[in-house]
Symmetry: C2
Subunit: 237 residues, 2 copies
Amino acid sequence: MTQKMVEQYQAQIKCLVALDSIIFGFDGEELKLLLVKRGVEDDGSTWSLMGGWLRPDEGLEEAANRILFELTGLTDIYLEQLYTFGAPHRDRVERTVAVSYFALINVTDYQERVSHTYEAHWFSMHELPRLLFDHGQMVEQAIERLRYKASQHPIGFELLPEKFTIPQLQKLYEAIFDAPLDKRNFSRKILSTNLLEKLDEKQRGYSKKGAYLYKVNEEKYQKQFNTFLNFLPNGGT
Amino acid sequence: MTQKMVEQYQAQIKCLVALDSIIFGFDGEELKLLLVKRGVEDDGSTWSLMGGWLRPDEGLEEAANRILFELTGLTDIYLEQLYTFGAPHRDRVERTVAVSYFALINVTDYQERVSHTYEAHWFSMHELPRLLFDHGQMVEQAIERLRYKASQHPIGFELLPEKFTIPQLQKLYEAIFDAPLDKRNFSRKILSTNLLEKLDEKQRGYSKKGAYLYKVNEEKYQKQFNTFLNFLPNGGT
Protein backbone atom coordinates (compact mmCIF):
# COMPACT_ATOMS: atom_id res chain seq x y z
CA MET A 1 0.00 0.00 0.00
CA THR A 2 1.25 3.45 -0.87
CA GLN A 3 1.82 6.21 1.64
CA LYS A 4 -0.99 8.15 -0.02
CA MET A 5 -3.45 5.34 0.60
CA VAL A 6 -2.42 5.08 4.25
CA GLU A 7 -3.03 8.78 4.63
CA GLN A 8 -6.43 8.46 2.99
CA TYR A 9 -7.47 5.83 5.51
CA GLN A 10 -6.16 7.90 8.38
CA ALA A 11 -8.04 10.99 7.28
CA GLN A 12 -11.47 9.34 7.68
CA ILE A 13 -13.82 9.53 10.62
CA LYS A 14 -14.57 6.41 12.60
CA CYS A 15 -17.89 5.47 14.10
CA LEU A 16 -19.18 3.19 16.78
CA VAL A 17 -21.23 0.36 15.30
CA ALA A 18 -24.37 -0.79 17.11
CA LEU A 19 -26.65 -3.72 16.37
CA ASP A 20 -30.33 -3.32 17.22
CA SER A 21 -32.88 -6.10 16.84
CA ILE A 22 -36.62 -5.73 16.56
CA ILE A 23 -38.21 -8.94 17.84
CA PHE A 24 -41.90 -9.21 17.08
CA GLY A 25 -43.92 -11.91 18.76
CA PHE A 26 -47.33 -13.37 17.95
CA ASP A 27 -49.27 -14.94 20.80
CA GLY A 28 -52.25 -16.14 18.78
CA GLU A 29 -54.05 -12.86 19.34
CA GLU A 30 -51.87 -9.85 18.80
CA LEU A 31 -48.46 -8.63 17.73
CA LYS A 32 -45.99 -7.85 20.50
CA LEU A 33 -42.57 -6.29 20.71
CA LEU A 34 -39.73 -7.48 22.91
CA LEU A 35 -37.96 -4.68 24.80
CA VAL A 36 -35.30 -4.45 27.48
CA LYS A 37 -35.29 -2.16 30.47
CA ARG A 38 -32.50 0.37 30.74
CA GLY A 39 -31.61 3.09 33.17
CA VAL A 40 -33.25 6.43 32.45
CA GLU A 41 -31.48 8.03 29.49
CA ASP A 42 -30.95 11.71 28.84
CA ASP A 43 -33.98 11.67 26.55
CA GLY A 44 -36.26 10.22 29.23
CA SER A 45 -36.54 6.81 27.61
CA THR A 46 -36.24 3.71 29.73
CA TRP A 47 -36.81 0.90 27.23
CA SER A 48 -34.78 -0.16 24.27
CA LEU A 49 -34.64 -2.65 21.42
CA MET A 50 -32.18 -5.53 21.78
CA GLY A 51 -29.15 -3.36 21.25
CA GLY A 52 -25.42 -3.50 21.81
CA TRP A 53 -22.06 -2.79 20.25
CA LEU A 54 -19.99 -4.66 17.69
CA ARG A 55 -16.90 -6.48 18.94
CA PRO A 56 -13.55 -6.61 17.11
CA ASP A 57 -13.78 -10.08 15.60
CA GLU A 58 -17.49 -10.39 15.03
CA GLY A 59 -19.53 -10.22 11.86
CA LEU A 60 -22.65 -8.06 12.02
CA GLU A 61 -25.21 -10.87 12.15
CA GLU A 62 -23.08 -12.77 14.64
CA ALA A 63 -22.99 -9.70 16.89
CA ALA A 64 -26.76 -9.20 16.62
CA ASN A 65 -27.29 -12.84 17.65
CA ARG A 66 -24.83 -12.60 20.55
CA ILE A 67 -26.49 -9.42 21.86
CA LEU A 68 -29.97 -10.94 21.58
CA PHE A 69 -28.77 -13.96 23.52
CA GLU A 70 -27.11 -11.88 26.25
CA LEU A 71 -30.23 -9.79 26.79
CA THR A 72 -32.92 -12.47 26.52
CA GLY A 73 -31.45 -15.96 26.42
CA LEU A 74 -32.94 -16.44 22.94
CA THR A 75 -30.96 -18.53 20.48
CA ASP A 76 -31.63 -19.97 17.03
CA ILE A 77 -33.72 -17.00 15.95
CA TYR A 78 -33.41 -16.15 12.28
CA LEU A 79 -32.56 -12.46 12.23
CA GLU A 80 -33.08 -10.71 8.92
CA GLN A 81 -31.14 -7.54 8.25
CA LEU A 82 -33.57 -4.63 7.99
CA TYR A 83 -31.86 -1.28 7.52
CA THR A 84 -28.87 0.73 8.65
CA PHE A 85 -29.44 3.99 10.46
CA GLY A 86 -26.66 6.56 10.51
CA ALA A 87 -27.97 10.10 10.94
CA PRO A 88 -25.12 12.23 12.35
CA HIS A 89 -26.60 12.89 15.79
CA ARG A 90 -28.79 9.85 16.36
CA ASP A 91 -26.64 8.96 19.38
CA ARG A 92 -25.81 12.19 21.18
CA VAL A 93 -22.60 10.97 22.77
CA GLU A 94 -20.68 9.53 19.83
CA ARG A 95 -21.39 9.07 16.16
CA THR A 96 -22.91 5.60 15.96
CA VAL A 97 -24.08 3.68 12.92
CA ALA A 98 -26.79 1.15 13.85
CA VAL A 99 -27.44 -1.93 11.78
CA SER A 100 -30.93 -3.23 12.55
CA TYR A 101 -32.25 -6.78 12.30
CA PHE A 102 -35.73 -8.15 12.81
CA ALA A 103 -37.57 -11.39 13.46
CA LEU A 104 -41.11 -12.58 14.05
CA ILE A 105 -41.41 -15.41 16.56
CA ASN A 106 -44.08 -17.29 18.45
CA VAL A 107 -44.35 -15.77 21.94
CA THR A 108 -45.49 -19.01 23.51
CA ASP A 109 -42.62 -21.09 22.15
CA TYR A 110 -40.03 -18.78 23.64
CA GLN A 111 -41.87 -17.50 26.69
CA GLU A 112 -40.06 -19.63 29.21
CA ARG A 113 -36.62 -18.49 28.16
CA VAL A 114 -37.55 -14.82 27.91
CA SER A 115 -39.34 -14.75 31.27
CA HIS A 116 -36.23 -16.05 33.03
CA THR A 117 -34.43 -12.83 32.24
CA TYR A 118 -35.46 -9.94 34.41
CA GLU A 119 -34.82 -7.30 31.81
CA ALA A 120 -36.80 -8.39 28.75
CA HIS A 121 -40.56 -7.95 28.42
CA TRP A 122 -43.16 -8.30 25.68
CA PHE A 123 -45.20 -5.16 25.02
CA SER A 124 -48.41 -4.90 23.06
CA MET A 125 -47.78 -2.84 19.93
CA HIS A 126 -50.61 -0.61 21.14
CA GLU A 127 -48.89 0.15 24.42
CA LEU A 128 -45.27 0.78 23.59
CA PRO A 129 -43.27 2.87 26.04
CA ARG A 130 -40.98 5.66 24.91
CA LEU A 131 -37.99 4.11 23.18
CA LEU A 132 -34.32 5.06 23.08
CA PHE A 133 -32.87 7.21 20.26
CA ASP A 134 -34.46 6.42 16.89
CA HIS A 135 -35.67 2.98 17.98
CA GLY A 136 -39.29 4.04 17.39
CA GLN A 137 -38.41 4.71 13.76
CA MET A 138 -36.72 1.30 13.53
CA VAL A 139 -39.89 -0.37 14.79
CA GLU A 140 -41.98 1.49 12.21
CA GLN A 141 -39.68 0.43 9.43
CA ALA A 142 -39.75 -3.18 10.63
CA ILE A 143 -43.56 -3.19 10.68
CA GLU A 144 -43.58 -1.80 7.18
CA ARG A 145 -41.21 -4.52 5.97
CA LEU A 146 -43.27 -7.20 7.72
CA ARG A 147 -46.47 -5.93 6.08
CA TYR A 148 -44.78 -5.79 2.70
CA LYS A 149 -43.63 -9.38 3.03
CA ALA A 150 -47.05 -10.51 4.23
CA SER A 151 -48.68 -8.78 1.27
CA GLN A 152 -46.37 -10.48 -1.24
CA HIS A 153 -46.28 -14.01 0.18
CA PRO A 154 -48.43 -15.78 2.68
CA ILE A 155 -46.11 -15.77 5.71
CA GLY A 156 -46.12 -16.81 9.31
CA PHE A 157 -47.16 -20.46 9.06
CA GLU A 158 -44.28 -21.27 11.39
CA LEU A 159 -46.00 -19.17 14.06
CA LEU A 160 -49.11 -21.33 13.97
CA PRO A 161 -49.56 -24.92 15.10
CA GLU A 162 -48.76 -27.46 12.37
CA LYS A 163 -52.48 -27.93 11.90
CA PHE A 164 -54.36 -24.66 12.04
CA THR A 165 -57.73 -23.17 11.20
CA ILE A 166 -58.39 -20.35 8.74
CA PRO A 167 -59.55 -18.09 11.62
CA GLN A 168 -56.14 -18.65 13.30
CA LEU A 169 -54.33 -17.56 10.15
CA GLN A 170 -56.69 -14.61 9.82
CA LYS A 171 -55.84 -13.51 13.38
CA LEU A 172 -52.16 -13.42 12.43
CA TYR A 173 -52.87 -11.29 9.38
CA GLU A 174 -55.11 -9.00 11.41
CA ALA A 175 -52.32 -8.64 13.98
CA ILE A 176 -49.70 -7.81 11.34
CA PHE A 177 -51.92 -5.25 9.59
CA ASP A 178 -53.59 -4.06 12.77
CA ALA A 179 -56.94 -4.12 10.99
CA PRO A 180 -60.00 -6.38 10.95
CA LEU A 181 -60.47 -8.49 7.82
CA ASP A 182 -63.72 -9.74 6.38
CA LYS A 183 -63.99 -13.40 7.34
CA ARG A 184 -65.61 -14.71 4.19
CA ASN A 185 -63.31 -12.79 1.85
CA PHE A 186 -60.17 -13.81 3.70
CA SER A 187 -61.17 -17.44 3.69
CA ARG A 188 -62.12 -17.46 0.01
CA LYS A 189 -58.95 -15.69 -1.05
CA ILE A 190 -56.46 -17.58 1.05
CA LEU A 191 -57.98 -20.87 -0.13
CA SER A 192 -57.80 -19.73 -3.75
CA THR A 193 -53.99 -19.71 -3.48
CA ASN A 194 -54.20 -23.53 -3.31
CA LEU A 195 -51.37 -23.52 -0.79
CA LEU A 196 -53.41 -25.05 2.02
CA GLU A 197 -54.54 -28.64 2.39
CA LYS A 198 -57.82 -29.22 4.11
CA LEU A 199 -57.55 -32.05 6.63
CA ASP A 200 -60.26 -34.46 7.62
CA GLU A 201 -60.24 -33.08 11.18
CA LYS A 202 -61.93 -30.26 12.99
CA GLN A 203 -60.66 -28.08 15.80
CA ARG A 204 -62.51 -28.95 18.96
CA GLY A 205 -63.82 -26.97 21.86
CA TYR A 206 -64.15 -23.54 20.29
CA SER A 207 -67.62 -23.87 18.83
CA LYS A 208 -70.20 -26.57 18.31
CA LYS A 209 -69.68 -26.68 14.60
CA GLY A 210 -65.88 -26.50 14.82
CA ALA A 211 -63.51 -25.17 12.17
CA TYR A 212 -61.65 -27.39 9.75
CA LEU A 213 -57.94 -27.81 10.24
CA TYR A 214 -55.50 -27.11 7.43
CA LYS A 215 -51.84 -27.54 6.82
CA VAL A 216 -49.48 -25.88 4.36
CA ASN A 217 -48.56 -27.81 1.26
CA GLU A 218 -44.82 -27.19 1.55
CA GLU A 219 -44.05 -28.35 -1.94
CA LYS A 220 -46.54 -26.00 -3.58
CA TYR A 221 -45.45 -23.20 -1.27
CA GLN A 222 -41.79 -23.56 -2.22
CA LYS A 223 -42.64 -23.93 -5.86
CA GLN A 224 -45.00 -21.01 -6.10
CA PHE A 225 -42.80 -18.52 -4.33
CA ASN A 226 -39.66 -19.50 -6.09
CA THR A 227 -41.32 -19.02 -9.44
CA PHE A 228 -40.20 -16.02 -11.25
CA LEU A 229 -42.76 -13.52 -12.44
CA ASN A 230 -44.98 -14.68 -9.64
CA PHE A 231 -47.01 -11.49 -9.77
CA LEU A 232 -48.43 -12.96 -12.97
CA PRO A 233 -51.28 -15.47 -12.59
CA ASN A 234 -49.91 -19.00 -12.45
CA GLY A 235 -46.32 -17.84 -12.01
CA GLY A 236 -43.63 -17.57 -14.66
CA THR A 237 -43.37 -18.87 -18.15
CA MET B 1 -24.49 10.82 31.60
CA THR B 2 -22.79 8.78 34.29
CA GLN B 3 -19.07 8.03 34.38
CA LYS B 4 -19.93 4.37 33.84
CA MET B 5 -21.73 5.15 30.59
CA VAL B 6 -18.83 7.27 29.34
CA GLU B 7 -16.50 4.36 30.01
CA GLN B 8 -18.80 2.00 28.15
CA TYR B 9 -18.70 4.19 25.08
CA GLN B 10 -14.93 4.50 25.30
CA ALA B 11 -14.43 0.76 25.55
CA GLN B 12 -15.95 0.08 22.12
CA ILE B 13 -14.17 -0.37 18.83
CA LYS B 14 -14.68 2.15 16.06
CA CYS B 15 -14.93 1.41 12.38
CA LEU B 16 -14.55 3.27 9.15
CA VAL B 17 -17.87 3.58 7.34
CA ALA B 18 -17.95 3.21 3.56
CA LEU B 19 -20.82 3.73 1.14
CA ASP B 20 -20.88 1.58 -1.99
CA SER B 21 -23.45 1.96 -4.74
CA ILE B 22 -24.39 -0.60 -7.33
CA ILE B 23 -25.71 1.25 -10.40
CA PHE B 24 -27.39 -1.02 -12.93
CA GLY B 25 -28.20 0.35 -16.35
CA PHE B 26 -30.55 -0.89 -19.05
CA ASP B 27 -29.79 0.15 -22.62
CA GLY B 28 -32.80 -1.47 -24.27
CA GLU B 29 -30.89 -4.71 -24.78
CA GLU B 30 -28.99 -5.80 -21.71
CA LEU B 31 -28.22 -5.05 -18.11
CA LYS B 32 -25.01 -3.17 -17.39
CA LEU B 33 -23.07 -2.21 -14.30
CA LEU B 34 -21.35 1.12 -13.73
CA LEU B 35 -17.81 0.81 -12.35
CA VAL B 36 -14.94 3.18 -11.65
CA LYS B 37 -11.28 2.60 -12.40
CA ARG B 38 -8.90 2.50 -9.47
CA GLY B 39 -5.19 1.97 -9.09
CA VAL B 40 -4.20 -1.70 -8.78
CA GLU B 41 -5.11 -2.89 -5.29
CA ASP B 42 -3.29 -5.48 -3.21
CA ASP B 43 -5.85 -8.07 -4.34
CA GLY B 44 -5.21 -7.37 -8.03
CA SER B 45 -8.53 -5.67 -8.63
CA THR B 46 -8.65 -2.48 -10.62
CA TRP B 47 -12.36 -1.68 -10.76
CA SER B 48 -14.75 -0.78 -8.01
CA LEU B 49 -18.37 0.08 -7.29
CA MET B 50 -19.15 3.74 -6.62
CA GLY B 51 -17.51 3.76 -3.23
CA GLY B 52 -16.20 6.23 -0.71
CA TRP B 53 -16.14 7.15 2.95
CA LEU B 54 -18.67 8.81 5.22
CA ARG B 55 -17.99 12.40 6.28
CA PRO B 56 -18.61 13.79 9.76
CA ASP B 57 -21.86 15.64 9.13
CA GLU B 58 -23.43 13.46 6.48
CA GLY B 59 -26.30 11.00 6.67
CA LEU B 60 -25.68 7.66 4.96
CA GLU B 61 -27.88 8.24 1.92
CA GLU B 62 -26.55 11.77 1.55
CA ALA B 63 -23.00 10.40 1.53
CA ALA B 64 -23.87 7.73 -1.05
CA ASN B 65 -25.35 10.41 -3.31
CA ARG B 66 -22.37 12.74 -2.87
CA ILE B 67 -19.92 9.93 -3.70
CA LEU B 68 -21.91 8.87 -6.77
CA PHE B 69 -21.89 12.48 -7.97
CA GLU B 70 -18.15 12.92 -7.38
CA LEU B 71 -17.30 9.77 -9.31
CA THR B 72 -19.77 10.02 -12.19
CA GLY B 73 -21.51 13.38 -12.28
CA LEU B 74 -24.85 11.61 -11.75
CA THR B 75 -27.47 13.40 -9.68
CA ASP B 76 -31.13 12.82 -8.88
CA ILE B 77 -30.75 9.05 -8.85
CA TYR B 78 -33.00 7.28 -6.36
CA LEU B 79 -30.65 5.10 -4.34
CA GLU B 80 -32.31 2.32 -2.36
CA GLN B 81 -30.44 0.93 0.63
CA LEU B 82 -29.56 -2.69 -0.06
CA TYR B 83 -27.52 -4.28 2.72
CA THR B 84 -24.70 -3.57 5.13
CA PHE B 85 -21.53 -5.62 4.91
CA GLY B 86 -19.29 -5.84 7.95
CA ALA B 87 -17.20 -9.02 7.98
CA PRO B 88 -14.14 -8.38 10.19
CA HIS B 89 -11.49 -8.48 7.45
CA ARG B 90 -13.41 -7.37 4.37
CA ASP B 91 -11.05 -4.40 4.09
CA ARG B 92 -7.57 -5.59 4.97
CA VAL B 93 -6.26 -2.24 6.14
CA GLU B 94 -8.86 -1.11 8.64
CA ARG B 95 -12.13 -2.52 9.88
CA THR B 96 -14.71 -0.96 7.60
CA VAL B 97 -18.47 -1.36 7.60
CA ALA B 98 -19.93 -0.78 4.13
CA VAL B 99 -23.51 0.31 3.61
CA SER B 100 -24.56 -0.52 0.07
CA TYR B 101 -27.18 1.19 -2.10
CA PHE B 102 -28.47 0.32 -5.54
CA ALA B 103 -30.35 1.81 -8.46
CA LEU B 104 -31.51 0.80 -11.93
CA ILE B 105 -31.32 3.57 -14.52
CA ASN B 106 -31.66 4.05 -18.25
CA VAL B 107 -28.16 4.04 -19.74
CA THR B 108 -29.14 6.29 -22.64
CA ASP B 109 -30.68 8.98 -20.45
CA TYR B 110 -27.52 9.37 -18.40
CA GLN B 111 -24.88 8.47 -20.98
CA GLU B 112 -23.76 11.99 -21.68
CA ARG B 113 -23.02 12.81 -18.07
CA VAL B 114 -21.27 9.53 -17.34
CA SER B 115 -19.11 9.61 -20.48
CA HIS B 116 -17.73 13.01 -19.46
CA THR B 117 -15.97 11.47 -16.51
CA TYR B 118 -12.88 9.53 -17.44
CA GLU B 119 -13.15 7.05 -14.61
CA ALA B 120 -16.65 5.58 -14.90
CA HIS B 121 -17.62 2.94 -17.46
CA TRP B 122 -20.58 0.68 -18.12
CA PHE B 123 -19.76 -3.02 -18.21
CA SER B 124 -21.94 -5.80 -19.55
CA MET B 125 -22.97 -8.05 -16.64
CA HIS B 126 -21.45 -10.89 -18.67
CA GLU B 127 -18.03 -9.26 -18.81
CA LEU B 128 -17.39 -7.89 -15.37
CA PRO B 129 -13.77 -7.34 -14.38
CA ARG B 130 -12.42 -8.42 -11.01
CA LEU B 131 -13.90 -6.16 -8.35
CA LEU B 132 -12.47 -4.73 -5.14
CA PHE B 133 -13.02 -6.45 -1.77
CA ASP B 134 -16.47 -8.03 -1.48
CA HIS B 135 -17.97 -5.85 -4.23
CA GLY B 136 -18.71 -8.96 -6.31
CA GLN B 137 -20.89 -10.23 -3.47
CA MET B 138 -22.63 -6.85 -3.28
CA VAL B 139 -23.44 -7.05 -6.98
CA GLU B 140 -24.86 -10.56 -6.56
CA GLN B 141 -27.04 -9.43 -3.69
CA ALA B 142 -28.25 -6.43 -5.68
CA ILE B 143 -29.18 -8.63 -8.64
CA GLU B 144 -31.07 -10.92 -6.30
CA ARG B 145 -33.00 -7.99 -4.82
CA LEU B 146 -33.75 -6.64 -8.28
CA ARG B 147 -35.08 -10.02 -9.41
CA TYR B 148 -37.15 -10.36 -6.29
CA LYS B 149 -38.73 -6.97 -6.87
CA ALA B 150 -39.33 -7.72 -10.54
CA SER B 151 -40.99 -11.00 -9.59
CA GLN B 152 -43.34 -9.33 -7.12
CA HIS B 153 -44.30 -6.21 -9.05
CA PRO B 154 -43.99 -5.28 -12.67
CA ILE B 155 -41.06 -2.84 -12.50
CA GLY B 156 -38.91 -0.80 -14.79
CA PHE B 157 -41.51 1.14 -16.77
CA GLU B 158 -39.47 4.26 -16.09
CA LEU B 159 -36.62 2.68 -18.07
CA LEU B 160 -38.76 2.37 -21.19
CA PRO B 161 -40.13 5.12 -23.43
CA GLU B 162 -43.52 6.46 -22.30
CA LYS B 163 -45.11 4.42 -25.09
CA PHE B 164 -43.55 1.01 -25.41
CA THR B 165 -44.16 -2.35 -27.02
CA ILE B 166 -44.55 -5.65 -25.19
CA PRO B 167 -41.30 -6.94 -26.77
CA GLN B 168 -39.45 -3.94 -25.26
CA LEU B 169 -40.79 -4.78 -21.81
CA GLN B 170 -39.90 -8.43 -22.37
CA LYS B 171 -36.30 -7.43 -23.22
CA LEU B 172 -36.05 -5.67 -19.86
CA TYR B 173 -37.30 -8.74 -18.01
CA GLU B 174 -34.97 -10.99 -19.97
CA ALA B 175 -32.08 -8.68 -19.08
CA ILE B 176 -32.95 -8.67 -15.37
CA PHE B 177 -33.36 -12.45 -15.22
CA ASP B 178 -30.63 -13.18 -17.75
CA ALA B 179 -32.89 -15.74 -19.40
CA PRO B 180 -35.02 -15.92 -22.53
CA LEU B 181 -38.78 -15.81 -21.99
CA ASP B 182 -41.45 -17.33 -24.17
CA LYS B 183 -42.93 -14.50 -26.23
CA ARG B 184 -46.53 -15.66 -26.26
CA ASN B 185 -46.62 -16.53 -22.57
CA PHE B 186 -45.00 -13.27 -21.52
CA SER B 187 -47.40 -11.24 -23.59
CA ARG B 188 -50.47 -13.13 -22.37
CA LYS B 189 -49.45 -12.91 -18.73
CA ILE B 190 -48.33 -9.30 -18.63
CA LEU B 191 -51.56 -8.25 -20.36
CA SER B 192 -53.62 -10.28 -17.88
CA THR B 193 -52.42 -7.95 -15.09
CA ASN B 194 -54.61 -5.26 -16.74
CA LEU B 195 -51.96 -2.69 -15.89
CA LEU B 196 -51.21 -1.76 -19.49
CA GLU B 197 -53.33 0.30 -21.86
CA LYS B 198 -53.18 -0.60 -25.50
CA LEU B 199 -52.85 2.51 -27.66
CA ASP B 200 -54.19 3.01 -31.11
CA GLU B 201 -50.66 3.31 -32.52
CA LYS B 202 -48.02 0.94 -33.73
CA GLN B 203 -44.27 1.12 -33.47
CA ARG B 204 -42.80 1.80 -36.91
CA GLY B 205 -39.74 0.62 -38.72
CA TYR B 206 -39.05 -2.63 -36.91
CA SER B 207 -41.27 -4.96 -38.91
CA LYS B 208 -43.91 -4.66 -41.59
CA LYS B 209 -46.67 -5.60 -39.27
CA GLY B 210 -45.40 -3.45 -36.39
CA ALA B 211 -46.05 -3.96 -32.69
CA TYR B 212 -48.76 -2.12 -30.79
CA LEU B 213 -47.67 0.52 -28.34
CA TYR B 214 -48.80 0.44 -24.74
CA LYS B 215 -48.60 2.69 -21.75
CA VAL B 216 -48.92 2.01 -18.03
CA ASN B 217 -52.20 2.82 -16.38
CA GLU B 218 -50.67 4.68 -13.45
CA GLU B 219 -53.85 4.71 -11.43
CA LYS B 220 -54.34 0.95 -11.62
CA TYR B 221 -50.64 0.39 -10.99
CA GLN B 222 -50.65 2.48 -7.81
CA LYS B 223 -53.90 0.93 -6.67
CA GLN B 224 -52.95 -2.68 -7.30
CA PHE B 225 -49.57 -2.54 -5.64
CA ASN B 226 -50.67 -0.61 -2.65
CA THR B 227 -53.38 -3.13 -1.96
CA PHE B 228 -52.70 -5.30 0.95
CA LEU B 229 -52.81 -9.04 0.51
CA ASN B 230 -51.89 -8.48 -3.11
CA PHE B 231 -50.61 -12.02 -3.45
CA LEU B 232 -54.26 -12.96 -3.39
CA PRO B 233 -56.19 -12.72 -6.66
CA ASN B 234 -57.86 -9.31 -6.96
CA GLY B 235 -55.95 -7.88 -4.01
CA GLY B 236 -57.11 -7.48 -0.42
CA THR B 237 -60.48 -7.55 1.19
